[in-house]
């Protein structure tokens, strides 16, 4: 078994793709505490390829101007590049129209936008919003807030001991009072891939729209909003090798058109008079104020980067890494994997008997290995599994089998230190 793994590892890491991809990320060429950096905190944020860094700095060096206004050359270029970035997002998600892509700060803002502009005006006391038990806080709290504002109720689809979405319970919970379903596409704490196609199909059979939280999924799974037929899809640029502070909300044009603006200000209006203001068309109606232009352009470059490699090639590599890591850590005595759904991607969450995740994180850090320790902004998931927190290794396209070996060696060191 071990010999096979060794051969597999050597073979996998010498494949031309991974090492070339790795070279695209300058930050990875450094030592941390005197050890080569092993960055396994990709679910928190991903590193940026040179192409994204260049796109942002090129924008500030040569293009910077405000968009959608000036008549001068730079403003036109900035507008063209900003709108080209929107079209790249549209293309990446296979949305039908670019006005269905709203630039936002990230997944959190996208979900808050839907909660306040779509749900809030529609919700009546007694109505229900349906989420799952494996949501990130950002797909819980905006709904709690809108429920408080409207008298609606938040309902939660349970997950089983493997961390799987319980579809039968979902079918039971979906009813005439349900006004919206909001679920994660890929759980950040467990790695579970939710059965989103079936979730959407059943919700639509009840005439209920569905929002997918794609913060994790976007860089690991193929996202085709038309094939999924989801009504809203939210993601953050920084989780897919783009800058922080930029993300996108996809929404079906018919739904977005019927929604009031989220924030008021410049760019989102057509005519302003003190008597009455006319709002702008999609997507600008939802983009008040000067947007994160450089961020959008950087995000466009990140999506180009991912498309050049191909999301399927990335998914295949990460799935091999996750299988390899799962196999190796399963041999570590006292290690419990949290989240063992058959359909998983990129995330390995675990606990070690008698050792707090923070201590694991500190000791691994001194070996140059960056992981996340804690509740991963998913405290209800931690409660479900009766743990205060977990240690989480999360993979991206530039991670190697050798890095998984380093993680496993690091975990053995942690155990050695804690041995009585």
């Amino acid at each position: 078994m071990k010999i096979d793994s060794e051969i597999l590892r050597r073979w996998a890491d010498t494949k031309p793709g991974v090492m070339a991809w790795r070279n695209d990320f300058p930050i990875l060429r450094q030592e941390v505490h005197g050890k080569p950096l092993v960055y396994l905190d990709n679910a928190a944020t991903t590193q940026k390829p040179q192409a994204v860094i260049d796109a942002e700095s090129e924008y500030y060096r040569c293009i910077n101007a405000n968009v959608h206004r000036g008549v001068h050359a730079l403003s036109q270029r900035a507008t063209d590049d900003f709108e080209a970035a929107r079209n790249k997002v549209r293309h990446f998600m296979n949305a039908a129209h670019s006005e269905e892509i709203i630039f936002v700060r990230g997944t959190t803002e996208a979900i808050n936008l839907v909660a306040q502009s779509y749900a809030r005006p529609r919700l009546q006391p007694g109505d229900e919003i349906l989420i799952s038990a494996m949501e990130h806080h950002s797909n819980i709290v905006p709904w709690q807030m809108v429920c408080e504002q409207t008298g609606a109720t938040l309902k939660v689809v349970p997950i089983d001991d493997a961390g799987e979405f319980m579809f039968d319970a979902y079918a039971q919970l979906l009813n005439a009072r349900t006004k919206l379903v909001a679920v994660t596409h890929l759980s950040n704490a467990l790695g579970t891939i939710a059965p989103v196609e079936r979730i959407i199909e059943l919700a639509h059979a009840h005439d209920v729209p569905v929002l997918l939280d794609g913060a994790q999924a976007i860089s690991h799974l193929r996202v085709d909003v038309r094939q999924l037929d989801c009504d809203f899809y939210a993601f953050s640029g920084h989780k897919i090798f783009g800058p922080t502070g930029i993300g996108a909300l996809y929404g079906k044009a018919a739904l977005l058109n019927a929604m009031p603006p989220y924030q008021g200000g410049g760019d989102m209006i057509r005519v302003v008079a003190f008597e009455k203001t006319q709002y702008n068309d999609l997507p600008y109606k939802f983009e008040a104020g000067t947007p994160n232009i450089a961020g959008a352009i950087g995000l466009g470059a990140a999506l180009d980067y991912v498309s050049t490699i191909g999301i399927d090639a990335i998914a295949a590599h990460e799935s091999a890494l996750l299988a390899y890591a799962t196999d190796l850590v399963s041999d570590i005595p006292g290690l419990r994997i949290i989240g063992a759904a058959p359909h998983k991607a990129s995330i390995l969450s675990f606990t070690l008997d008698g050792i707090h995740p923070h201590d694991i994180g500190t000791i691994l850090d001194r070996a140059g290995i960056a992981i996340r320790a804690g509740h991963h902004c998913a405290m209800p998931v931690m409660q479900r599994f009766h743990v205060a927190g977990t240690a989480r290794a999360s993979f991206a396209l530039y991670n190697t089998h050798a890095e998984v070996d380093a993680l496993v060696a690091g975990l053995r060191e942690v155990q050695e230190m804690f041995q009585p």
């Binding site: 923070h358 000791i363 804690g374 927190g389 804690f418």
Partner: protein, 148 residues
Amino acid sequence: MNDLRELYQEVIFDHYRKPRNCHALGCANHKAEGYNPLCGDQVTVYLKVEDDIIQDLSFEGAGCAISTASASLMTEALKGRKVAEVEHLFDDFHHMVTDAQTVPHPALGKLEVLAGVREFPARIKCATLAWHTLHAALKDQRTPVKTE
């Protein structure tokens, strides 16, 4: 690796595995809860104060090696101390775990084993959680103490 050994000393492991005074205190007349939102660690500190002297104290809660050992060592160090003395010790302790230039104050005694924390900025809050909670208990603060 050396600063790791400095942080995770045998005394720390000993107090993590066998925390002292780790239980509720029936006769307590002061109590407070502390919470570290970063990691979810929670601690409750119980105090029995009479004539401005800490007659007894204890803690409850689950946490990492550093926070558990720190709470345990704190309860051992403070039993029988005057309340005024405790405030000074907290100051000295805080300096020791945050400022690499400080030579630990001799009054800290056994608490000096936690000096290694200062090389790990992300873990300072683990070491100080119990102390902040103790401070709140002395002031009878009702809302839980947060480290951030």
